[in-house]
Amino acid sequence: MPVDPQFPRAAAPVLQASALAKSFKTPHGSLPVLDGVSLDIEAGRFVSIRGASGAGKTTLLQILGGLDRADSGELHWNGERVSGRGNAFLANRRARWLGYVFQAYHLVPELTALENVALAGRIAGRPRRETNTDASALLERVGLSGRMTHLPGQLSGGECQRVALARALVNHPRLILADEPTGNLDEHTGEEIMALLLELTKAENVALILVTHNIAFANLASQTLVLRHGKLHDETNGDNPENRSV
């Protein structure tokens, strides 16, 4: 894959979405989920998204991360137009500058903690030695230096999510999409993971879009959005939900 000489364009916002719409075809007709979502994320920013179950938060994250395509609207990553580009382009960019964290960890059960983290580097096509160094450094930073050769089945939920955090960061991404990363964890562990996530993204100046049901976590963000009726509403600083639409 030839590298775009202007990639990444430092000056451009990490992510720009405008008027994204998405509906799913169901046996009972079309189910609109997103209906004109616009969003700009500057480098290093932290944005949270809340919303009722089924509101379309996961769908939105998948579209923003190029795992799914919007029916209409425009999406730019680092100033590069994404909409209408091929799957290979999406896969390449996803691997190189995007990190995902999921509620269900999604670790490969046959790989050790270190290998799970290194796998993301390998998929991004980075040299072996380099990814291994990065992977073990990150695992150390998330506090798992003693668990590198453990399989996911030998780790606790919180430890699994730490591995997933390390994996999301191993390729030095510019944006992390986190879909309810604390959803499967108890309150205390959730707080630990959240703190770690914020610390790591801040240290590397990585932008973060966090989907969460936890209002306290959501309010840590510089911008708090709520997805309702297919649109994003800005509720930063406890604004009245009905006032501002982004």
Binding site: L67, A104, V108, T112
Partner: protein, 418 residues
Amino acid sequence: MPIFNSSMWPIFLACRQLFPPRRFPVFAFVSTLGVAFGVTALLVVQTVMFSFGEEHRKRIRESVGDVEIHANGSPMSPVASLEKSLLEHQEVLAAASYIQGGVILKSDDGEFRLIGARGIDVRNEPHVTPLSNYLQRGKMEDMDDERVILGSRLARELRLGIGSQILLVSSGRVSKALDEAAPFLPKELEVCGIIHTGFADIDERLVLITLRTARELFSLPPGSATRTHVKLKDHTQAADFAKKLDHHFSETGLSLKATPWTDNRKAFLDAVAMEKELLFFLMFIIILVASFSIGSTLFNHVVRRTREIGLLGALGGRPAQILGLFLAQGLIIGSAGYALGTGLALLILHFRQKIIALMGAGETLLEQYRFDSVPLHYDFHDFTKTAVLTLVLMLTVSILPALWAARRKPSEAMRDAG
């Protein structure tokens, strides 16, 4: 830590999924065994069939030489000049004449057998056929006009050994004697050697005598023989050379005929080859059935990994790499199964004698194929054919689940996982 080069990650992951650390690889084990048994069955059957055919071919070539020249049963004379003219062809390495005919052998005990006598040119014959290699007792040079070599089974049945006296009468003469009351003219001879080839047709009913004794026995003129056979520099040229000789004979008005060794027992050998093909086909069907069950196991294996397929997509894995991940698993199972199956087949073939003895099938073997042991000749072709077949089948059964996986949208695959 065995982490591969970056572009190799699907192969690395394929190995890990097949052989998960700290866990018994049930899936890989069962599937590999399935392939291995199929490969073993196919290779053993094909090799045994090939060996019988090949052994027969070898024996035929060893007993008739590469090309035989004859006058449709009538004696040819003088054979010395025929041999000389044959040796002038640059393809020919050696030539020897002989007389083949039916005789009645009678032992001192009064037992008798109707067998074949071959009167050979003791000096030239060893250059054309390796009969002397099979001598169990005695030497070719011990033979003279009074002394003969007997097939081993024949000698045993008639309780004959070195020094035993036998009587030979030509069967043609017996029939003549019945018609015209002519004398039998039996010939009294002494056994000076025993030949054992392992091929019952020879061991059970052959007596080797000298060319001169044969002429006397069959009342043929001096300098004559019924057949002349030649050894070629390249035995694969036998058919071509025979054709060339035939052409030459008809041009010069000689009523001689040249037959390549490949024309001998052609129908039988064709039947063996055909049987081999048929068995291959039957085995193929069995293996096909096995492949489908491996295919369905593989599908299961892939479907259980839906969440990982989605994850790999999210991490930037391309559909072609996901395809590669699962195709690689099919190919690894196929290759491991082939290797294991081949090893098992070689083991069984190595111990074939013991296995046959255990099954008590020795007699059938002798009756059907005329060998007292199972010959073993490997045909490289059978191994490559089986390898290609295994890989093609494994690719075929893994391509569907692999395609299914590669075509999953990561967004939906991840949702499947909950």
